[in-house]
């Protein structure tokens, strides 16, 4: 709780010159939001494909690639994104490059947990629906997915929490910034970067600011977890 004394409204909303970490909080929220917006649907769709339609050689290949990506060191993801997106495609550091790098961490986790939760749905539930004359896709959407909802939610939250704390890919993609959001194609601040940079500084005040940022990051992930749990609690009850 070494970060606790740092907390104040100003700390949360001011920019770095005024002793706050506002840009980093904003940056992390944008990163999580943007990455989730594309990553979660792609991850869930891939998981559905692997679990429900994955009885062929494409799926087997996809599954192995997915497994490799899940275990990929995040620094390698960062360096790849740096080489491909930062240097070759865009030409400079940018928020979008960070988002793409993070989605390569998020998508495999979401796909894997989706596949695992769908496989836990008993086959008798699928058969019941198919025997009524429901199409396969309808069965997957209206019967199998709702049954696996709790697992899907947990997997997605885990993946989001994981990317919220990733530092290595961000160093090489969004670089960091002392200002509030400048545009998706510009460098951007983020909490993990803030923590990393501050903790390396000689001044005690900046190190303390780093601790404060760490506490904020933990609280953000925790509250995201609680909010989603609360919002879906009623519907998850059997």
């Amino acid at each position: 709780m070494r970060g606790a004394p740092e907390l104040s409204l100003g700390f949360l909303v001011n920019n770095n010159s005024a002793g706050g970490i506002g840009p980093a909080i904003q940056g992390t929220l944008i990163l999580i939001g943007f990455t989730s917006l594309f990553g979660i649907p792609i991850g869930i769709l891939s998981g559905i494909y692997l679990a429900e339609f994955g009885n062929n050689k494409y799926a087997t290949a996809m599954r192995s690639i997915n497994d490799v990506l899940t275990e990929f060191p995040s620094i390698v993801v960062g360096i790849t994104a740096y080489g491909v997106i930062v240097i070759a495609i865009i030409g400079h550091y940018s928020a979008i490059a960070g988002s793409i790098a993070l989605s390569f961490i998020l998508i495999p986790i979401v796909a894997r947990t989706t596949e695992e939760s769908l496989k836990l749905v008993p086959n008798s539930v699928r058969e019941a629906s198919l025997a009524l004359g429901a199409h396969k896709w309808r069965t997957t959407l209206s019967v199998v997915l709702p049954t696996a909802k709790a697992g899907l939610l947990t997997g997605t939250l885990l993946a989001v929490a994981r990317i919220a704390g990733e530092t290595a890919p961000l160093i090489m993609t969004i670089l960091g910034n002392r200002y509030f959001f400048q545009g998706l194609n510009q460098p951007m601040a983020a909490l993990p970067l803030e923590i990393w940079r501050d903790s390396l500084q000689p001044q005690a005040s900046l190190v303390a600011q780093g601790w404060g940022a760490a506490l904020i990051l933990i609280l953000m992930v925790l509250s995201l977890n609680i909010i989603v749990r609360l919002a879906t609690r009623g519907r998850l009850k059997r």
Partner: protein
């Protein structure tokens, strides 16, 4: 693969709602059905009996094209529904399953749905609820499955919250909500206690007024109580088929007699 011991006596019988002709089925390399020819007569109950692993479940799963959903499963032969082969290329298996409903061995209501939604599920999932009063269909189906009186105040409760016997009748209600022409039952009482089983049996006898029923059972007393026709299967082959009275009182095949009298099985 083609049948070798077929003596061409099998012809299309217009009295039959469903008819299997030279039906063979495999799971991978393992042959599960050997040239099975059975006719299922309109508005009657046909029981399929035999020891475990004799192919009786595989047989009825071929009647609504559920067999082909098992990985590595294949089949040859024909299954006629009102004289039309349901395995013809232009026949959509989804349409077949709407006409030929199924009740499984273990009650399998949808775990995320209420009692009401479970019964309505068929109409919703198949997109056929248009122009129908859903409340009315749910009520009628539950009444038909003799479950209405027990659950009418709990329709919003989860389908899995009621007892096993009630769940099985819920599954029957779910099947008849779609108004199928044939109802296939795969050992519907084997997971139930005798009292719940007796209720299902009475229901089966009731159902034949409006539907054609095929029921798989390993309980011979049950077969003799509910059915009009009985087929005895052994090791994937049909051994004997005839009226239930004939099969149970004067079986022609010594194997049938041995099974009926409990000498093996």
């Amino acid at each position: 693969m083609t049948s070798t011991n077929n003596d061409q006596t099998t012809t299309v019988d217009p009295e039959m709602k469903m008819q299997s002709i030279d039906l063979n089925a495999w799971f991978g390399q393992k042959k599960a059905l050997r040239n099975v020819n059975i006719g299922i007569k309109t508005n009657s109950v046909t029981a399929i009996i035999g020891p475990s692993g004799c192919g009786k479940s595989t047989f009825i799963r071929c009647l609504n094209r559920m067999h082909e959903l098992t990985p590595n499963a294949k089949m040859t032969g024909q299954v006629l529904l009102d004289g039309q082969n349901i395995y013809d290329k232009q026949v959509d298996p989804v349409q077949v399953r709407r006409r030929v409903g199924m009740v499984f061995q273990k009650p399998n209501p949808f775990p995320t749905m209420s009692i009401y939604d479970n019964v309505a599920a068929g109409l919703r999932l198949t997109g056929t609820k248009k122009g129908k009063n859903l409340d009315e269909v749910v009520k009628q189906s539950l009444e038909r499955a003799t479950l209405w009186e027990e659950v009418k105040d709990d329709l919003k409760k989860p389908g899995t919250s009621i007892s096993g016997g009630q769940q099985q009748r819920l599954c029957i209600a779910r099947a008849i909500a779609l108004q199928p022409e044939v109802i296939l039952m795969d050992e519907p009482c084997s997971a139930l206690d005798p009292i719940a089983a007796a209720k299902i049996e009475r229901l089966v006898v009731e159902l034949k007024r409006d539907y054609t029923v095929a029921i798989v059972t390993h309980n011979m007393q049950q077969a003799s109580r509910v059915s009009n026709f009985t087929a005895f299967m052994y090791l994937g082959s049909l051994i004997e088929f005839g009226s239930t009275t004939d099969i149970f009182e004067s079986p022609k095949n010594p194997l049938t007699e041995k099974y009926i009298t409990g000498e093996f099985g």
